[in-house]
């Protein structure tokens, strides 16, 4: 197992380097935007002198590398500076929202991943039957529809016509978990519909891909039932590609949910990012981008490790 730990550490190191490169890209992408925080804070009526004075005060007139290192050393300990608009620390602005986004993503993932994999196994078993085709068409339809459209459709049918769930996912302090789950059910369901198809189809493909293997034929010739052939003989060897797709979709659930948050007025980080870009709140933009990048890298790392852990050749060396 020492080899495995080594491997994980190596990947983690590579992930950190990637994150560093991304941090440089983010920093400079934001630098390239016209105007700076000083101009934004003071508005259009400001004189040259006041802007210069504020720059001096905010440290914006220092060379870029000093500012980058300053920002990076803060970011490492979770200090992304202060919001250019409210003057609050950036973490106070987006920290809670990020937790909200994680909650919504986890909610959707807990529903979607088991559903997708179960469906994938079932359609692999019933491949080329009516059930397979119907499941394919339905999931493809849901993946092909824009999220906001799906969101509004769900609101129409499950909130307006049949008021089962609230249409707006507003949160307040001290809500019970049940209340929370009820409030956020519709956005979570929207996300489930969006990500299920991808994972289900990959599960199906990965399993069917293995069905031509000699060991599958061997299992069949041992009299193993078709259901058991799939679940016990094919699935354990299909995890690597499935885990990769699951990780990609989880990353999407965290970083790609802006539209869903807007539709359901959900206080997530995606909405915060859009607001910040519109208002040139650069520290917030940088912080949110870096958090997204870290999420992506971590999930991919988890997928790699997961794929390794499911490979008996690596788990049990000779």
């Amino acid at each position: 197992m020492g080899g495995l730990l080594n491997l994980v550490l190596k990947r983690l190191g590579l992930g950190l380097i990637t994150l560093l490169v991304v941090s440089i890209l983010i920093f400079f992408a934001v630098e390239l935007l016209p105007g700076d925080t000083a101009e934004q804070i003071l508005g259009q009526g400001a004189t040259e002198e006041t802007v210069a004075a504020l720059r001096e005060q905010l440290g914006l007139n220092r060379p870029w590398y000093v500012r980058y290192l300053d920002w990076l050393s803060g970011a490492v300990v979770g200090d992304f500076g202060v919001s250019a608009l409210s003057g609050e620390p950036v973490m106070d602005v987006i920290g809670g929202r990020f937790v909200n986004t994680l909650f919504l993503a986890a909610y959707a993932a807990v529903l979607a991943v088991p559903l997708a994999i179960t469906l994938g196994v079932i359609v692999a078993l019933l491949r080329n039957t009516v059930f397979d085709r119907v499941a394919n068409v339905l999931t493809l339809t849901s993946i092909s529809s824009p999220e906001f459209f799906l969101g509004y459709i769900l609101i129409l049918f499950l909130a307006v016509k049949n008021p089962f769930f609230p249409a707006i996912a507003s949160l307040s302090d001290g809500m019970s978990l049940g209340e929370l789950l009820n409030r956020t059910f519709l956005p979570a369901l929207t996300l489930v519909l969006v990500v299920t198809a991808h994972m289900m189809r990959m599960t199906r493909a990965a399993i069917i891909n293995l069905l031509a293997s000699p060991y599958i034929e061997m299992a069949r010739l041992k009299g193993v039932s078709p259901w058991r052939v799939i679940v016990r003989h094919a699935l354990p060897n299909a995890w690597a590609p499935i885990i990769n797709v699951v990780a990609l979709n989880l990353a999407y659930l965290i970083t790609g949910v802006v539209l869903v948050e807007v539709v359901f007025v959900y206080p997530g980080i995606g909405q915060a990012l859009v607001d910040a870009v519109a208002k040139r709140n650069f520290p917030v933009v940088q912080a949110a981008s870096l958090i997204f990048a870290a999420t992506f890298i971590l999930l991919n790392l988890a997928a790699d490790v997961g794929a390794i852990l499911t490979n008996p050749r690596l788990r049990h060396p000779k």
């Binding site: 293997s213 009299g223 060897n237």
Partner: protein, 553 residues
């Protein structure tokens, strides 16, 4: 039918079996009316070239049609149950319990995700014949009977932790788990070394005998089937050629096709001696050591010379370092110590440091022509590219050269110029591989097991072609093989390798006459012979406990 088996003991009866395969949007016949009768305890050898339908018939005996095939006619009656009309679940309940299957490649046929013993116990537990722990104990007992090392422990390993010969025995044990009435052995030893093969053959024969299990033994190797079968049936392109008891079939084959199969091993060319006029060897391997990245040493002080126009056969079990030596010569794997000389000049160890002229001298022909040729590239490009790269040919000169090369390998240029590899047969693909090596105009070619994936008749054609090319073009061959029959027919000199070392080398006639190095002796005596008593005699000579020791390395 020998008198040993009685009419009332018929276990399996196949009548006028017809099977079709789906190809290019139509169903074509692949088995065209085969009959087969098998009694309890009888071992029937099914023999024929690839494509003869042996495995298809084997699967059909379990009522199983592989994906893309269907049983389109005839009857298959197993112990009173008609399999062609039985429901899927009825057939399934026979499989594993009453009819079991042993596949060609145990390494590919064991599920990599589960321990061997868990796969073993799956069938008995599923059929409620034994509880899991009982089944495990029984598995250990079978492992012991099949002479697997550490029978109480080996089952708890994963398939990749066990060697090929051991896996093949474990698979035979798995087939025995429910004590079936019939086992289908589908080329169970084809992928194994000769020394390991003996082990497995002896183990299979013993256990089949002991439990009076009937078996269908599928193989393309006559000498193997002669050891195993009571009766032999010869197949050709989905049709039966003839059937007789083993002794009769070997001594007195009736049909021309059977006779041609029997005669295949007769090709021989005269042995050449080293030139005595002081000619330098074309390739000289001098004291090389090699290892793969981070691994243990796989070559240890390997030295041999290859003289112009001669064939040097390098033999040994898999893992003995034959192919690694070839990789060192071509520069794909730079040796850790020692050097490779070409006509007295030292070659740079890495192929990237070699000049074009040095590169052209070391051409390879590979074992699997299927994977060594790009399926999406036309023949003219496959052969033309090295001609272009090494000789700078273009336009009509290039086309002429490709035509010339196709002529050399006896393929009609106008017919094959624009074809793709998948449209060719195995033997034709191997010929294209030869033409590709020739295109560089080398003086020395490495042939890595070039005939081991081919049927005997086709392989003989390839050997004859290589021989003719050698005479016409003065080529030297390094011929890597584990098949000693091939060595007998074409080699001038033999190098025997074991565990990365050269244990013995010399002219062929000397190497094939005693006294031998003990390892050479083991290799030589392990090659199956047509005599049906060969295995029995050999086992008596070696003693049961000693046969496998070498094989488990």
């Amino acid at each position: 039918m020998s008198a040993k088996f009685l009419e009332k003991d018929i276990l399996l009866e196949i009548e006028d079996l017809q099977i079709q395969g789906y190809s290019e949007e139509t169903w074509i016949d692949i088995i065209k009316g085969v009959n087969l009768t098998l009694h309890r305890g009888e071992v029937l050898g099914l023999i024929g070239e690839s494509g003869a339908g042996k495995s298809t018939i084997g699967a059909a005996a379990m009522g199983y049609a592989r994906d893309g095939t269907r049983i389109s006619g005839g009857r298959i009656e197993f112990d009173g149950i008609e399999l062609t009309t039985a429901t899927e679940s009825d057939k399934r309940s026979l499989r594993g319990s009453r009819i079991a299957y042993v596949a060609q490649s145990a390494a590919a046929s064991f599920n990599p995700a589960h321990k061997i013993i868990d796969q073993h116990t799956e069938a008995p537990v599923q059929y409620r014949i034994q509880k899991r722990l009982e089944a495990q104990e029984d598995a250990m007992k079978l492992y012991e009977q099949l002479r697997l090392p550490n029978p109480n422990e080996i089952g708890f390993r994963y398939p990749h932790q066990v060697s090929g010969g051991q896996l093949q025995r474990a698979m035979t044990a798995m087939a025995m788990s429910c004590r079936p009435d019939l086992i289908i052995f589908d080329e169970p030893t084809t992928a194994l070394d000769v020394t390991t093969q003996i082990e497995v053959l002896a183990a299979i024969r013993d256990i089949v005998d002991q439990y009076n299990t009937a078996a269908i033994y599928i193989t393309h190797d006559l000498a193997v089937v002669a050891q195993m079968a009571d009766t032999i049936k010869v197949l050709l392109k989905g049709e039966e050629v003839e059937q007789a008891s083993t002794v009769e079939m070997l001594e007195n084959p009736q049909e021309d096709y059977t006779k041609s199969l029997w005669a295949v091993r007769s090709f021989k060319r005269p042995q050449k001696a080293r030139p005595k006029d002081g000619t330098e060897p074309i390739i000289s391997v001098k004291n090389i050591d090699a290892a793969y990245t981070g691994g243990v040493k796989v070559l240890d002080d390997v030295s041999f010379d290859i003289y112009p126009g001669m064939t040097v056969a390098v033999v040994g079990e898999s893992g003995s370092g034959k192919s690694t030596t070839a990789r060192c010569i071509t520069g794909l794997l730079p040796p850790m110590a020692g050097e490779i000389q070409f006509k007295g000049d030292t070659l740079p160890p890495k192929y990237t440091d070699r000049s074009k002229d040095q590169l052209r001298q070391a051409q390879m022909i590979y074992q699997m022509a299927d994977t060594a040729l790009n399926p999406k590239v036309q023949i003219n490009e496959i052969i033309g590219r090295p001609a272009q790269f090494y000789s700078g040919l273009k336009g009509t000169a290039l086309k002429q050269r490709v035509d010339e090369l196709l002529d050399l390998i006896e393929l009609e240029p106008s017919k094959y110029y624009y074809r793709y590899p998948p449209e060719l047969s195995g033997g034709q693909k191997q010929r294209i591989g030869i033409a590709r090596a020739l295109a560089a105009e080398p003086e020395f070619i490495i042939c890595d097991e070039v005939t081991s994936a081919l049927d005997q008749l086709v392989a003989e054609g390839i050997l004859k072609l290589l021989d003719r090319l050698q005479r016409d073009l003065g080529l030297a061959y390094m011929f890597i093989t584990h098949d000693l029959a091939t060595v007998r027919s074409i080699a001038d000199e033999v190098v025997v390798m074991q565990n990365g070392k050269v244990v013995e080398q010399g002219p062929k006639d000397k190497m094939f006459t005693p006294p031998h190095h003990p390892y050479t002796d083991l290799l030589l005596s392990s090659v199956p012979e047509m005599d049906p008593n060969w295995l029995t005699t050999l086992l008596e000579e070696r003693g049961v406990d000693n046969i496998g020791e070498k094989a488990d390395v």
